[in-house]
Symmetry: none
Subunit: 208 residues, 2 copies
């Protein structure tokens, strides 16, 4: 039997969820909290296997509440329920170790999601997964040819982003230090940046 706690600040939603889940023979809703704060309070005594929680709530939001609950030693698998696809929330949810993030709309799959989460698997709404690779692999957003960056300049950029000084870059590329300085200068102009530190930032934010 899987014990569940539901957390949603909309009583209608939490009520509906309770009905849906209680209808399953192997799932039991042990508690319903109407706010993040209440959830934090209830979690230790209820000790549910799974917490189904709305991520957007007034007061303490879902991720904050979940973090608190997990910090307090709960072993519950947290399954976030959300109306929106918000990168920030997804990100945060993953970071604090949530076991699921699904869209309210397809709550028909809620029971099977709860079961999967309870058995240690992580569940994400299909739309959520589509976003993952974007977040994972945010390379190639920058096209060097767009800015007339030559291959040699690209090499310089990489070395700058490795923390090398002009002199070190010069040695590594068999050039004069002054030349490197000129190249850096020209790169900065092309990319509309001010100094090598900004160039390194640009590299990590746009190129890697």
């Amino acid at each position: 039997m899987i014990s569940v706690m539901i957390v949603d600040d909309d009583p209608f939603v939490s009520g509906s969820l309770k009905i849906i889940l209680d209808n399953e023979p192997d799932i039991e809703v042990k508690a319903v909290a109407n706010s993040g704060e209440e959830a934090v309070k209830l979690a230790p005594e209820v000790a549910p296997d799974v917490i189904v929680m709305d991520i957007r709530m007034d007061g303490m939001n879902g991720t904050e509440a979940a973090q608190k609950i997990l910090e307090n030693g709960s072993k519950a698998a947290v399954l976030f329920l959300t109306t929106f696809l918000d990168d920030e929330y997804i990100n945060k949810a993953l970071k604090i170790g949530a076991m699921g993030y699904i869209i309210k709309q397809d709550c028909g799959s809620l029971p099977s999601s709860v079961r999967a989460v309870a058995s240690g698997q992580a569940v994400f709404g299909g739309k959520v997964v589509e976003k993952l690779p974007d977040l994972l692999n945010r390379k190639e957003r920058f096209d060097p040819s767009e800015f007339d960056i030559t291959p040699k300049e690209l090499e310089v950029i990489e070395l700058v982003a490795d923390g090398l000084s002009n002199k070190e870059i010069a040695e590594k590329m068999f050039l004069g230090e002054g030349t490197v300085r000129n190249m850096v200068s020209s790169i900065l102009t092309k990319l509309d940046l001010r100094d090598r530190t900004q160039l390194a930032c640009f590299y990590y934010q746009k190129m890697v």
Copy 2:
């Protein structure tokens, strides 16, 4: 009724999986393929809801086969089964739009995972999810307290990594420019770095 195709080049494994899944009342194993190539051939005629596929196979491996199958217009949800936790595979699986990636060991949860996947949710083994944040944003590998970095210094680090000059940081933090310079200097000493550019690199490589 959920129709499933199993793909594994080890007949023992695919046989076991078939038994496990056929044992479920709402799941039916429609086909078993013993190689990636065979899976690609069978997929169109079988048209399963879910494909349970080993990711490491001789010849055409799991991701390649899945990619081919999906390119051919199959609407199957692909659920990868794997013995290992390989970053590269996880990455690739996500990229080609797999709906699941779970570890063979906990095949007890296979039926509920199949159901969740069939209903449009994505499923990942718990261990897999633990890796996601690492891949997503590899933060927290750095513990500021390890190096006596104060909160204020942390703020400076972030501003440096945003490409601000000392003067700009000073304005933003209501400090004197010289003070900021001293703080940067002390940060550099603590982290054993040479200049602000290296600090920005450090930030993006270890902290973000």
